[in-house]
């Protein structure tokens, strides 16, 4: 990152290579739109390039800073277009008749996917950040600019909702 601060394009290419897939996946999970996710990933890295001089490595981890930029861009875009909680779950993966034909584990996956899309934006973001320790709860709290307690409350509500969905499909 020090080299990126000095506007080294080769170092920036390495950084993009290393983090693009993660940021694109994160954006896709927040927007549910492949094109938006790609555009926002591009915008995220453009911000990293132009704001590199403002990054303070002793204050926040690079991945935390990067996700905060990506999250803020997603929020801004959806505020301009539509509320993020209004994900059209019916457009996610085919119609109900098709879903009924799926094996049990696929139906379960589909149900959780829908339940995840239905979660309030901040609960969904908290879960995406923390699932499988992508980030520690403290780092995720920094991305969302909230306390660790508030973050854990979001995680708690999100997981409870998804567990309720699981129970209905078992």
């Amino acid at each position: 990152m020090a080299r990126v601060k000095a506007q080294d394009r080769d170092a920036f290419a390495v950084l993009v290579e290393r983090h693009l897939a993660t940021i694109h996946a994160f954006n896709y999970r927040l927007t549910r739109d492949a094109e938006d996710a790609a555009d926002l990933a591009q915008e995220t890295f453009l911000r990293v390039w132009s704001k590199a001089a403002t990054y303070k490595p002793n204050r926040v981890k690079f991945t935390t800073w990067l996700h905060r930029i990506a999250h803020n861009l997603c929020i801004d875009q959806h505020r301009r277009r539509r509320p993020m909680d209004d994900v059209d779950v019916d457009t996610l993966d085919g119609d109900e008749a098709d879903i009924d034909q799926l094996p049990a584990n696929e139906r379960l996956r589909h149900a959780v996917d829908r339940a995840l899309a239905d979660l309030p934006e901040r609960q969904r973001t908290a879960l995406l950040l923390c699932h499988r320790r992508n980030m520690s709860n403290r780092e995720a709290a920094e991305v969302l600019d909230i306390s660790v307690d508030a973050l854990e409350s979001l995680l708690s509500r999100a997981r409870r909702t998804l567990r309720t969905t699981l129970r209905a499909y078992r």
Partner: protein
């Protein structure tokens, strides 16, 4: 210990940290594992949390990065103007560095200018020879 309370705490732990014991806070891990080993209800909660984590793994893995996105990102990253670089690195920075001692000199001079020597004395000191200055000093002492 109250079993109901422990189950509640265990459930809260799973909700906040997921089903992987390595991710649980070290201060709670031993108590949680002890409860998990001894309670069927805790085992049910744990299995449910594990299934949720596994299902989320399956759900979240399906987001391939579009081909060519990296190239697009890099192609759209603005290049810095080489003239601007030349100006800032070759001209502006050396000028600023060169002026720094001058600025320090001014600052120091300004601080010591509280008791200025008047112009007549400055001319005298500048042009008089040593004997004249000594003679003047003796006159001032008398």
């Amino acid at each position: 210990m109250n079993t109901e309370f422990d189950l509640q705490r265990f459930e809260a732990l799973l909700d906040r940290h997921g089903a992987e014991p390595d991710d649980w806070p070290a201060t709670l891990r031993e108590q949680a594992l002890t409860l998990l080993a001894s309670s069927g209800d805790a085992r049910l909660l744990y299995d449910e949390a594990r299934l949720l984590d596994d299902t989320l793994d399956a759900v979240l893995v399906e987001t391939p990065t579009p081909l060519g996105l990296k190239t697009r990102v890099l192609a759209n990253t603005p290049r810095r103007d080489p003239w601007l670089d030349w100006f800032t690195v070759r001209i502006w920075r050396p000028v600023v560095l060169g002026c720094l001692p001058l600025a320090v000199g001014f600052a120091v001079g300004a601080n010591f200018a509280d008791d200025p020597v008047d112009l007549e004395d400055q001319v005298l000191i500048a042009f008089a020879d040593t004997d004249t200055l000594e003679a003047l000093a003796l006159v001032e002492e008398e």
